[in-house]
Symmetry: C2
Subunit: 426 residues, 2 copies
């Protein structure tokens, strides 16, 4: 494995998401050896992934090389590989590149798309959890536009220009808004051979309102913003099936569409090998105590989306968003050092900094603890917070410039079909 | 096909490279209908492709949506499709999306990689003519680094870190320099588990000097710059074979390498259907007269790399670089309008603006007609000229910022393996 054996304990972190990199930073140049493992060589800033899908940003704006994060710390190693299983008794991890031993193991693998067992939807729909998936959506949208421009059959053209987004959480809402902007600002200029009104964006949400995790006020405003942009919002609507051509729902609503974007749910991206008890099957999340220790283990931890820490305020676990992951990562760094030093650990207490979602230019909603607002100012706050949260000065500048450019020019500049997406080959 | 039939003549342009877009612009809002056809939906700024390969730039910096260029002109249509053949008698083009009729046809398809019939090299080497190919090289370089970091066997590690670039023209020289910068500046920081001296970059050139199309002075300077960066330059060296592991040459030189980048030659990307006479087989370029009319045709033209206009100064045709393509495109736009108006055409006269190549930071060579220079000032001129030549204000700013950032930080920021490259699946 080529990682030197040293006298200090080795902490192995699986996953370079928000939890993983914040934990790694907290252990930087401390008396431990850190091995960060990820399938990819970069950290993904998930909250802006939808802007890659909608041709607003290129991947390098929201992805950040993991080695660039850890190079500052002499005690850190990175290995790009897939973890196959954990051998908890032997304190070993089995990976595609061999066995890696650990003293402390931290599972920060996050979530993956949940199709709720529907194979047809898994086959034909477009997920948006990873950068290549976001690029596939970008390619498909633009391919559909090109194909629609040459199609004389009206029904076929409409099916190419019908975009159905399933899931009214922040991802679905933000993506629907961004695709609506493509319809409103790009289509009329770039595709004079198409009629913008032939294009429809549907947002289907199973619960009674969009952004169900936010306040009712935010939901109402977001729905109004979406409608203003021309998005057709359908609440209380479940997708029952999709064969690549037709979307059927629990209601009479049926949609002919070449594109179904699936943002309806996630499930834990678990690793094999831990005791069955450790996992809450329903949610596919590891049960952890307030120190993020996985139930039944003293040296194995889980963080962020994959961890379920049932507390009084959050009996079903914390929301699967960036903030709990970041905060848990930071605290666990300190706690691991305390554990090694034999000092008492500090309990995790989630500080809810509020939540927000953007719908389009000048349109966002923000829920703070004592203050809820929407519109231009919310949109401004949303931008500022996301810019500051991006990893690295360069990415901030590139995103900021792109946003300014896109805003002034009503443009989305990355309208490139670099790798055409082939639905049949999926 | 959905393109309206109008009373003015239709000019169909195949290819949105330098020649195609300059011709299109010259015909913008003129009394012709223009149909631009390309397999891709973007223009590629080829001279900077090597910076995508070496993680310095993302594709959106050097690729530009073709629809964004033509949207300014009301008489223009774009179709993303592959041309299968020309039916010159019927004035029709057969494409993947059906038949497109033309009054005037302009072939501006450029060139593709030439493997000189060697199937093994075609199978195992990495070409760099297109954006996806450049991204494949980027992925492979970074994958090799990751794999080398976990390999204990020294020979295997060295083969992973040996990069062999074949072809000492501007592409090969610039790419070799950029990869050397990865070795000199990125490897020691990002990959502390690797020893930079295990990495070698070989540049193999068949002729007696690198940059054979430039002055001897430029060749000498470039070779010196390359050597300074640690590139091992081998002139008079032809690659005979490559099985994915070992490179054999005409000399005793044999190299164990996982990566062979093939920049050794191009050949015309011709279209089926024209008379055999029209093509000069050796070069795979269409013989054209001084008005770019293809031999034997009055309404079919060829431009740029694919055209061979034998003149007194250039008996073997103009160099296959951007300038002749741009100048021919601009002139042909005027000539087509003259042809329609029954006015006499203007002969093409190439204005050689000089040539240049960059090797690395502060290192470039420039050949002007009466003045040749190299070093920092040449590098500055190279950057300025390339920035200004980029299409679109946005791309200029993004590239400029990235260059400044990379220069100050000795960094290349797009070190992302977005789509892992699988050599076996190629």
């Amino acid at each position: 494995m080529n990682i030197p054996q040293v006298s200090v304990p080795r902490v192995v972190i699986i996953g370079g998401g928000f939890a993983g990199i914040n934990l790694a930073k907290a252990l930087g140049n401390k008396p431990v050896q850190v091995v960060l493992i990820d399938k990819r060589n970069y950290h993904t800033f998930q909250p802006l992934l939808y802007q890659v899908s909608s041709a607003g940003l290129e991947p390098d704006s929201i992805a950040y090389p993991l080695r660039k994060i850890i190079k500052r710390y002499k005690n850190m190693y990175f290995r790009m590989t897939k973890v196959r299983s954990i051998d908890a008794d032997a304190n070993e991890l089995h990976t595609d590149i061999g066995v890696i031993s650990f003293d402390y193991l931290v599972i920060a693998t996050g979530t993956k798309t949940n199709y709720f067992g529907n194979k047809a939807i898994e086959t034909y729909s477009m997920p948006m959890k990873k950068v290549p998936q976001a690029l596939n959506i970008r390619s498909l949208i633009l391919q559909n536009f090109e194909q629609a421009a040459i199609t004389e059959d009206i029904a076929t053209r409409k099916a190419l220009l019908n975009f159905v987004i399933v899931g009214g959480g922040p991802t679905g809402v933000e993506l629907a808004g961004a695709i609506a902007e493509l319809k409103n600002h790009i289509l009329p200029k770039d595709y004079r051979d198409l009629i913008a009104s032939d294009m429809q964006i549907y947002l289907l949400e199973g619960s009674p309102r969009v952004l169900p995790s936010m306040s009712e006020e935010a939901s109402k405003k977001a729905a109004r913003f979406l409608t203003k942009l021309g998005v057709l919002v359908h609440c209380n609507t479940f997708v029952k099936d999709y064969d690549g051509k037709k979307v059927t729902t629990n209601l009479s609503l049926e949609l002919e569409s070449e594109t179904l974007i699936w943002a309806a749910g996630v499930t834990g991206d678990t690793v094999k090998g831990l005791k069955a008890d450790a996992l809450l099957e329903r949610a596919n999340r590891y049960k952890v105590n307030t120190y993020n220790q996985v139930e039944g283990y003293s040296n194995i931890f889980a963080l962020g989306d994959i961890a379920l820490m049932a507390t009084e305020d959050y009996p079903n676990g914390h929301p699967q968003v960036a903030q709990p992951a970041i905060q848990q990562g930071q605290l666990l760094g300190k706690n691991i050092l305390k554990l090694i030093a034999g000092k008492p650990l500090k309990e995790f207490k989630y500080v809810d900094k509020g939540s927000m979602a953007t719908v389009g230019r000048n349109k966002a909603v923000v829920d703070l603890k004592h203050f809820k607002f929407g519109g231009f100012f919310a949109w401004f706050v949303w931008m500022f917070v996301h810019l500051m949260a991006l990893v690295g000065f360069r990415n901030r500048v590139v995103v900021f410039f792109n946003w300014c450019y896109n805003y002034i020019n009503f443009d989305k500049a990355a309208r490139l079909i670099i790798r055409p997406f082939n639905k049949l080959k999926k």
